[in-house]
């Protein structure tokens, strides 16, 4: 029997969805408006805005952002899962929970959630690592998010440890347990982690400000920020001032969100595919 959704909650969801969808719809609509007709209040559509904004500089910035989000997202998942898996195994092996070393690591990680050295020490560390003005500076300093490790750890703790022990008894090592037991059971969680990290890296315009010196290496979010604020304040005091109309700005925003939309679609498609079951023990592991 199909349960009917209550009218009120459905209405609330629709309203919330509209609230989120309207700015997107506005952006989509305006980006196809002819710049002059936008000011005249007329409805004339064009692809010229997209063509003008899709110049070498924007496409290069999109490529930089795609690279930092893809590589950064993937490495973040590897590090996050590795950290959480290590803590998971260390905790599960002892009846009393994490060993002292594990607790120390967890305490340090938690402390970093609250305390931060500030921008200047952060910059100094990245500089002494020789990363300043390199593409790596855009994602390496942001690879590990403590909160994500904790989320991941909580997810791993929900796996019955008897499954891990059974694999162990069959002779599987930690990596084999991960590959054959944990990964199939938590693949959707890891995909979601990838998506979150992808978006975090994608939106990280400040790394471009802090660590990048060359405009050629700027990520697209920084370029957009500059573009959207280009008519502000003393912009004419810079030498780069070229007037950009609101439809053109919206076209640039549209171009820049396409990769994120594709990433969402890709992750959604992957997570909808049927997850593999834990693999049977092989001859080698017996």
């Amino acid at each position: 029997m199909v349960r009917r959704a209550p009218v009120l909650s459905t209405a609330v969801v629709v309203i919330v969805l509209l609230l989120f969808a309207l700015p997107l719809a506005y952006m989509l609509g305006v980006s196809f408006l002819q710049a002059e007709s936008y000011y005249r209040g007329e409805l004339r559509l064009t692809l010229a805005n997209l063509a003008r904004m899709a110049d070498a500089r924007l496409l290069r910035a999109v490529a930089v952002s795609c690279g930092m989000a893809l590589v950064g997202g993937a490495l973040s998942v590897v590090l996050t899962v590795a950290g959480a898996y290590g803590l998971f195994l260390a905790g599960a092996r002892r009846a009393s929970g994490l060993p002292p070393a594990g607790r120390a690591v967890l305490a340090a990680a938690l402390a970093l959630l609250i305390f931060h050295g500030g921008v200047i020490p952060f910059y100094m560390v990245v500089r002494h690592l020789g990363l300043v003005n390199s593409y790596a500076a855009l994602f390496v300093p942001y690879l590990l998010q403590t909160l994500m490790v904790l989320y991941c750890l909580e997810s791993l703790r929900k796996i019955p440890f008897s499954l891990v022990e059974a694999a162990r008894m069959d002779g599987a090592g930690d990596l084999q347990v991960f590959a054959r037991v944990v990964l199939p059971l938590r693949i959707r969680v890891f995909l979601a982690l990838f998506l979150v990290h992808f978006v975090l890296h994608w939106n990280n315009w400040y790394a471009g400000v802090l660590f990048i010196h060359s405009t050629r290496k700027q990520p697209v979010q920084l370029l957009l920020r500059n573009l959207l604020f280009s008519d502000q304040g003393f912009r004419n005091l810079g030498m780069s001032g070229v007037s950009v109309s609101p439809p053109e700005k919206m076209a640039a925003v549209l171009l820049s969100i396409l990769p994120v939309a594709l990433a969402y679609a890709g992750v959604l498609a992957l997570s909808r595919s049927r997850p593999a079951k834990p693999g049977p023990a092989t001859e080698e592991t017996r």
């Binding site: 200047i120 910059y123 050629r216 500059n226 502000q232 304040g233 912009r235 004419n236 005091l237």
Partner: protein
């Protein structure tokens, strides 16, 4: 056979020695020095003709350290605090005396006086700027700017349609705004806050009533009082309050961005604005409506004929050199700056390379830049190295003769020269000013927004003035005048 072999070996050996000598001699040639230069929105094109010309003339390679306009001061602070000081960088210089003094006294800025004999173009830039020295020493070279390029812009085609002249007084401005509202149904005057609640661009109205913007004013008895609490500003605010209540001033003047203000003007929802980006306004308006026209007007005169507008002291930023550079590199950096400040350097950054970016016909420079009809692309769009000009001069102080806005820009700059008022005691901040001035300025901005919308203007003005003096204004005024201030 042996002799032949010996001969071949000898020839090869001689050739090898010759080749090695040649290679070594090439290696001995001094390598171009790499110079890091910090500025916002700055880039170089290493394969471009301007960059090659500079490299050939000065023997340096330039490594840009660029950052968007909105973040430049923050990033420079981080770099300096981290010990990663660029070789050449811009600051607000003497325009921000606290920060500039600190940098100089911390020994981060190279004292320039000892080099002025060797670098005449740097010396020429500093001539007449004795008031910018700290303990008798220069630490920065000003990047020149028009005294003021702010200008009033009005829809000339609307004036034609209504048979009105370009307004020259505040009363004519009000009458014109009323006509625009009545006949065209628009809210005629728009404004925006770049950083100051919308009054910055309206500052000519303050000067028209004998007030001012962020400056001390003579109090009529040999002393000074701050403009924010002057009678001139009070009367100007009363006038603006009237514009607001008549529906002649954009009700969102204190929250608009500059882009929103421009949108209102270009879409015909406003017809009068004050700004300094004339080219942006005219270019865009021409594209939207070829029949539209922008007229510019001088700061309007007040009831007693006074006119004026806020102005800078001919500079906005200043270029400093890292004091910790090795001597050889320091010389190269100064050579580079001296070249950029020379006539040849400035012409290179303004016009580009002859035969590539322009050619001379009958004694006049003719552009070879890509163009769309009569609109030529800017040099820095064609060769990014031209953005080095921002280390020399800024803004619309100059535009090429072929720029279709050339005459408008020249008129605006002349306007600023004529009516611009540089704030009094610009470099001379008393201890109380250093302590209170920013806070009191913020208080003025907040209170002015309320005053423009106020229905009880006189009472609210008095409350503001009392608060301003109580929060440090009394101490600041007393210190400026060198005597106890009672009010």
């Amino acid at each position: 056979m042996k002799r032949t072999a010996l001969l071949i070996v000898s020839v090869l050996a001689v050739a090898a020695v010759a080749a090695a000598t040649l290679l070594l001699s090439c290696g001995a040639r001094p390598k171009p020095e790499m110079v890091t230069m910090f500025h916002w929105d700055f880039e170089v094109d290493r394969d471009g003709p301007i960059y090659r010309r500079i490299r050939d003339r000065v023997g340096v390679e330039i490594e840009p350290v660029s950052v968007p306009w909105s973040e430049w001061a923050g990033k420079l602070n981080v770099m300096i605090a981290s010990g990663d000081v660029p070789d050449v960088f811009v600051t607000y210089g003497p325009g921000d005396p606290d920060a500039f003094d600190r940098l100089a006294r911390d020994g981060l800025l190279l004292p320039l006086s000892g080099y002025l004999e060797r670098y005449p173009n740097i010396a020429a830039r500093l001539a007449g700027r004795e008031n910018q020295r700290i303990d008798g020493e220069y630490y920065a070279v000003p990047v020149t700017l028009p005294k003021s390029d702010h200008v009033g812009m009005i829809r000339g085609d609307w004036l034609d349609r209504l048979g009105l002249p370009v307004p020259s007084t505040v009363e004519e401005l009000r009458q014109t705004a009323r006509a625009f509202k009545k006949e065209l149904g628009v809210i005629p005057i728009s404004s925006s806050p770049p950083h100051t609640a919308g009054f910055f661009w309206l500052n000519p109205l303050l000067y028209a009533f004998g007030g001012g913007w962020d400056t001390w004013l003579p109090d009529g008895s040999g002393g000074y009082l701050m403009c924010w609490v002057s009678e001139g500003n009070r009367e100007a605010l009363r006038f603006i309050n009237g514009l607001y209540h008549e529906g002649l001033l954009d009700p969102e003047f204190f929250s608009n961005t500059d882009a929103e203000k421009m949108d209102r003007f270009l879409s015909g929802r406003a017809g009068i604005v004050f700004h300094n980006t004339i080219s942006l306004y005219t270019d865009r308006l021409q594209a939207i409506d070829p029949g539209a026209r922008i007229d510019i007007f001088e700061p309007p005169a007040g009831p007693s004929g006074q006119r004026g507008e806020w102005a800078m002291d001919g500079f906005f930023t200043a270029v400093s050199v890292n004091s910790r550079l090795p001597e050889r590199k320091r010389d190269r950096v100064l050579q580079l700056l001296d070249f950029l400040y020379s006539r040849e350097g400035l012409e290179l950054l303004r016009y580009g390379v002859e035969g590539v970016h322009y050619q001379v016909r009958e004694g006049r420079k003719v552009p070879l830049l890509p163009h769309d009809g009569e609109v030529y692309r800017r040099l820095e769009e064609v060769d990014r190295t031209a953005s080095l000009r921002s280390f020399v001069e800024l803004g619309d102080i100059w535009s090429p003769e072929w720029d279709r806005n050339h005459d408008l820009i020249r008129r605006a700059v002349a306007n600023g020269e004529k009516h611009g008022r540089v704030p009094l005691f610009l470099y001379d901040k008393t201890p109380a000013e250093r302590k209170h001035r920013k806070q009191l300025t913020d208080l003025a901005f907040q209170s002015y927004v309320t005053l423009v919308q106020s229905d009880t203007f006189d009472r609210d003005w008095q409350a503001f003035v009392d608060k301003w003096y109580a929060y440090g204004g009394r101490e600041m005024t007393a210190e400026r005048n060198g005597k106890p201030f009672t009010r």
